[in-house]
């Protein structure tokens, strides 16, 4: 491993949970057949798929027939958002969303409709009133993330009451498994590799009674909301890891929240450094900060040399690159930026080591 214990980029992808590995290996030999056929091997695959769906539904507190496995979190975002918009296309094509949504939402809005954007606070929190005010009758769908993927701020999804029956899509990719789902949405998306499941599995949840039409060509699969041959073993592994993560959530949350508080304090103690995002009402496992006068990519490279793998929202390598749209929308410094996100196995010792090395790394790059 490149980063023995120093991998601090779980917000990009969490290492595979042992429960996922175990289920995946067991299901690889059993879940190969087409779950739509009638023979024994097919019934076996169908049983595994239905089991995975039931487990995910139970973990999320939704109905099993509301859950669809997709080929990625991005695919789930596209289908959820655009499917709600398509069902309401007679009213208009405006896709209302915040400036701090994930690029999957932004690109889908541009591709499938006319985007209408609302801003956010300096903590990247979207104001419910701004969305309500912009939700005119010609809005096909409104999108709001459950929590911000770059700075961790939890969004007030549960407080949102949209006028004109505008449907709400929630991108829950950053929080699924880590926080209970908010209420009040019509469709919602998650991504298994963000909670310790395998990559290539997304979860789309469409509320019973919500108006949704496939935005893409139909496919005659088990579930009419998805397309393509189901990856049954991966769906089962995603479900098993979600179950394990939800079972240990309370303990993980408390531990990670405290460790991130420690990183936030260490970063805030650096000269000319700004820690961004809500300090309290946030995802437990991540923090983002920006160091004035430092090249973000150089900071990533230098921390990597010390054994720590982190992400950056900076774009200092070429004048053609745009920095993170989230940081820009917040009015935060976009250069010298790093995002630190803990895995379920990150220890106190590793966080201590990171906090110990950080001041010298930043000072070295500034000199």
């Amino acid at each position: 491993m490149t980063h023995p214990g120093g991998y601090l980029d779980s917000a990009s992808s969490e290492p595979l949970h042992p429960a996922a590995r175990e289920s995946l290996l067991a299901a690889l030999d059993r879940g190969y057949a087409d779950p739509r056929r009638l023979h024994k091997a097919a019934r076996d695959a169908r049983l595994l798929l239905d089991n995975a769906r039931a487990v995910v539904a139970q973990c999320l507190g939704v109905r099993a027939d509301e859950v669809t496995f997709t080929s990625s979190g991005t695919d789930a975002v596209h289908r959820g958002l655009l499917g709600l918009a398509r069902a309401r296309r007679s009213r208009g094509d405006v896709v209302l969303h915040s400036e701090v949504e994930h690029s999957a939402v932004r690109h889908a809005a541009t591709w499938g409709g006319s985007p209408r954007l609302v801003g956010a606070t300096g903590h990247a929190r979207v104001r419910v009133g701004d969305l309500v005010e912009s939700a005119t009758a010609d809005v096909a769908v409104c999108a709001l993330q459950s929590a911000n993927h770059e700075v961790g701020t939890v969004q007030p999804v549960g407080d949102l009451r949209l006028p004109h029956d505008v449907p709400l899509f929630v991108d829950a990719c950053a929080s699924m498994g880590r926080l209970p789902l908010p209420g009040g949405w019509d469709a919602l998306a998650g991504s298994a590799h963000k909670w310790g499941g395998p990559a290539g599995v997304g979860v789309l949840v469409v509320r019973r009674g919500a108006r949704w039409e496939s935005p893409f060509p139909e496919d005659d699969r088990v579930d009419h909301r998805g397309s393509g041959f189901e990856n049954v073993p991966a769906a089962l592994a995603a479900a098993a890891s979600l179950q394990a993560v939800v079972a240990e959530r309370e303990e993980t949350h408390a531990r990670q929240h405290a460790l991130i508080d420690q990183v936030r304090a260490a970063a805030a103690a650096l000269p000319d450094t700004e820690v961004v995002g809500d300090p309290v009402d946030r995802l437990p496992h991540l923090v983002t900060f920006s160091c004035l006068y430092v090249n973000g990519e150089a900071l990533v490279t230098e921390l990597d040399r010390h054994g720590f793998g982190v992400a950056s929202g900076s774009a200092c390598t070429a004048s053609s690159l745009e920095p993170s749209h989230v940081l820009a929308a917040m009015g935060a410094l976009t250069h010298g930026n790093v995002r630190v996100s803990l895995t379920r196995e990150t220890t106190q010792e590793q966080v201590d080591a990171f906090c110990a090395v950080l001041p010298a790394v930043v000072a070295g790059l500034r000199s």
């Binding site: 000319d272 090249n295 390598t317 820009a328 976009t334």
Partner: protein, 78 residues
């Protein structure tokens, strides 16, 4: 285009160089006067205002230099 006391040519520089130049040359103007950063770097659009907020200087706004390159104007407050 606003009249500024000092204009910093940061064309061709990538972040964080334009902001480093701004910090280095703020002292070249007297308190109350304007200094401008001319930069193609897309990050400067966000980072000059953010720097002003962090260093308690006033971000006046953006315009363009004669050659069309973006120019960010700052008033020295301290």
């Amino acid at each position: 285009m606003r009249e500024v006391s000092v204009e910093l040519d940061c064309r061709g520089m990538v972040c964080p160089r334009p902001v480093i130049e701004l910090a280095r040359h703020l002292g070249d103007v007297v308190v109350g006067d304007l200094v401008a950063v001319v930069a193609e770097d897309p990050a400067a659009r966000y980072d000059v205002p953010a720097w002003c907020r962090m260093r308690e200087q006033e971000y006046v706004g953006a315009d363009t230099a004669a050659d069309g390159v973006a120019r960010y104007v700052v008033r020295r407050l301290s």
